[in-house]
Point group: C2
Chain length 201, copies 2
Amino acid sequence: MINTIPDEILDAANTLFAQRGYDGTSLQLIADAVGIRKPSLLYHFSSKEVLRDAVLARVMEHWNDVLPSLLNAATGEHRFDALVGEMVAFFADDPSRARLLYREFLDRPAEMATRMHEFLSPWISILADYVRRGQAEGLLRPDVDAEAYVANVIQMIVGGVATAHVFGVLNSGSSFDQQIKEITRTARTALFIDNLEISHG
Amino acid sequence: MINTIPDEILDAANTLFAQRGYDGTSLQLIADAVGIRKPSLLYHFSSKEVLRDAVLARVMEHWNDVLPSLLNAATGEHRFDALVGEMVAFFADDPSRARLLYREFLDRPAEMATRMHEFLSPWISILADYVRRGQAEGLLRPDVDAEAYVANVIQMIVGGVATAHVFGVLNSGSSFDQQIKEITRTARTALFIDNLEISHG
DNA sequence: CCTACCGATCGGTAGG
DNA sequence: CCTACCGATCGGTAGG
């Protein structure tokens, strides 16, 4: 047995909430996916809301684990690559994470605004300071709105992964990887000065 | 009486579907918002699915009305401004439209991929051709992936408006308008060559 | 556009 | 972790 039953419940709930939404996913459906009965599920998570909270917390905790070392490991353009690369890798590795987050943004805007504020504000401040320092050094575009830029890049990646299945069909030539590449290019181009030559480095 | 009852039903359904999702919105709730009984609602729209389809169709039809004249009215950077401006204006005017669309992307990915393909593919082809022509003329960045760029800009605007309430709280200084401005700046910078000086024109 | 009603499914509990 | 069960709400119908 690799996973404990609570872990299996969290995995199944994350996938199903992302696919069908919170209201569209019955506890019965999650229990079936795990292979237990509904009251057994409610023994591990005392209510459907408690389960939702646990699923969401697990997705967000990843960034507290990974951001500190990521920010210290590199500077300048290397730090940009490390950050955007980690975000793209995390969400593209399992798009259910992006869809779950996005559904929460839509289902519980006030609660998620508070939660994101508490969770992301310290990180956003740090990133925005990097941007402003880069602007002062003449490396980054002066017209960048630091906080809004960071927020927009997060939205672009999470939203882009969450809706890749829809927008990827809009043309014959554009695959998931191409969309991710274009998102990364857009984020980079909107930030750095004179990056036309090095954007494919 | 300004609106017919079916129009009032569509308005209420759009707002409530956007706020609470399709599964989270009962026909009773919509009927209450309009001020009629549930069976009366089902007289105008024979099922909940039929109502959803009508709401969605109304949002998408706008673009068939507005895109032809918009594309003919201007060229180059003026056309970019006209297009992005219209998209931002339409969704920012009533963010429920953006949230409704995004929920459909998540709730019915396969159906929406088909629907968006049928609906947007012709327009995307035209826009992508504009991009390629601009690249050939040396006005637009050669590293732009035309189709992926257009899809990403649509996602950035719709997703940005749909989640503005969440990301707008991440810092004290960034309002809804600032986020929209930064999205527009990002889309422009990722497309045009040497637009550092004219981006505030 | 209404009252009255139905079968199905929901989240959750009792009790073991 | 299970069987058995409950009140509430769901989308939809009958009949006018």
